[in-house]
């Protein structure tokens, strides 16, 4: 399992320096690390978070937004009518709730359709795995720089260490 400190350190090494979002348990470890280092600006909704990222980007920051995949639904209109068409890139760190149908009922439809939804609105995405983590993050950085649009990195349960030991 990837340590949260290492994951955050790698993101910072790539250049990410503005972090916002809405929490999810899968992302709990990453958020705890970001909060410890005073790098995290909490948002109340995911559409607010991606809009804050857009503002921070235009003001010279390299932003990342953390969210549960339910938040992809909440932020979809802002992602397509702001970040995508204005070409304001951000890294979307999205937890994959409902993966393979093993989760609470509210997560099942999004868990099953999230990648199709991202494909439909043309947000490039990749799923983080421990053996390919370096490649995955390099891909994120390259796509971010080349396309100037939001790029999603999907994070399943148990890939990055959570808040529980």
């Amino acid at each position: 399992m990837i340590e949260s400190d290492d994951f955050v350190g790698t993101l910072q090494g790539i250049g990410f320096n503005f972090f916002t979002g809405v929490p999810d348990s899968i992302l709990g470890g990453i958020i705890a690390t970001l909060m410890e280092q005073r790098l995290y600006t909490p948002a109340v909704r995911e559409d607010e978070a991606v809009a804050m990222a857009a503002g921070a980007y235009m003001a010279g920051k390299v932003p990342a937004v953390l969210m549960q995949n339910s938040g992809l639904g909440t932020s979809l209109n802002t992602l397509i009518s702001l970040n995508l068409i204005y070409q304001q890139p951000c890294l979307l760190l999205i937890s994959w709730r409902g993966f393979q149908g093993k989760d609470a009922p509210e997560h099942l439809v999004m868990g099953q359709t999230m990648t199709q939804l991202l494909d439909t609105v043309r947000i490039p995405h990749r799923t983080l795995s421990e053996p390919t983590a370096v490649d995955d993050l390099n891909w994120v950085a390259q796509t971010f720089m080349k396309e100037h649009i939001p790029v999603a990195l999907l994070i399943k349960k148990g890939i990055v260490k959570g808040i529980q030991p």
Binding site: A43, V44, E48, M52, G55, M58, K61, S81
Partner: protein, 192 residues
């Protein structure tokens, strides 16, 4: 000052008064008529004109304000927009960026879609902002009061919230003729 006294003005006259007090500050302008009217009245590269994503103008402004603490950031918003993204009042109130000024042009209708009534006729958005934690909150009608309060807010620490009651009148204005990508590049460069 005198809350909600005096002659009510049109939104375009209010925007004109606001822009008349600004120079090179970043200004985020919400979608619909406010962006179109602002573009026609005084286009500047420091203006970010929204065309979609209703409700998130203050969130964009907050992102700019946090990244550029030495610049006063102005958000030109509408009542329908604030109601749609009301949670952001809490985010601003909690984070308390000193360089954040939220001007809400309140005509009590969804003016860009046919003047359907909004809830701002019965819900006091200025009181919501106050309760959320904005440091300075004012509510005005008259142009003279708008100028007085905004000048004051420009010179002091915020976050500030200026609610300006305006008429339903909309100017005969076209869409903003700039491509969204061009708006991003221009704004990014202008606020460097």
């Amino acid at each position: 000052m005198r809350p909600e006294e005096g002659t009510i003005q049109s939104r375009a006259r209010a925007i004109e008064a606001v822009l008349g007090l600004l120079t090179d500050q970043p200004v985020i302008i919400c979608n619909g008529f406010p962006s179109r009217e602002a573009f026609k009245l005084a286009d500047r590269p420091t203006h970010f004109y929204m065309i979609g994503s209703m409700g998130v103008a203050p969130a964009i402004g907050l992102g700019v304000a946090l990244a550029k603490p030495d610049k006063k950031v102005i958000v030109l918003d509408g009542d329908g927009n604030v109601l749609m993204g009301m949670g952001t009042l809490a985010t601003v109130g909690a984070l308390k960026p000193k360089n954040f000024i939220h001007v809400v042009l309140d005509n009590e209708v969804y003016g860009s879609t046919g003047n359907q009534p909004t809830l701002s006729r019965v819900v006091r958005l200025d009181q919501v902002a106050k309760a959320a934690g904005y440091v300075r909150v004012e509510r005005v009608r008259e142009r003279e009061d708008l100028v007085y309060e905004l000048k004051d807010m420009l010179g002091k620490d915020g976050p500030s919230f200026l609610l300006v009651k305006v008429t339903e009148q909309a100017e005969d204005v076209d869409r903003v003729p700039l491509e969204p990508i061009e708006i991003t590049h221009r704004f990014k460069k202008a606020i460097e």
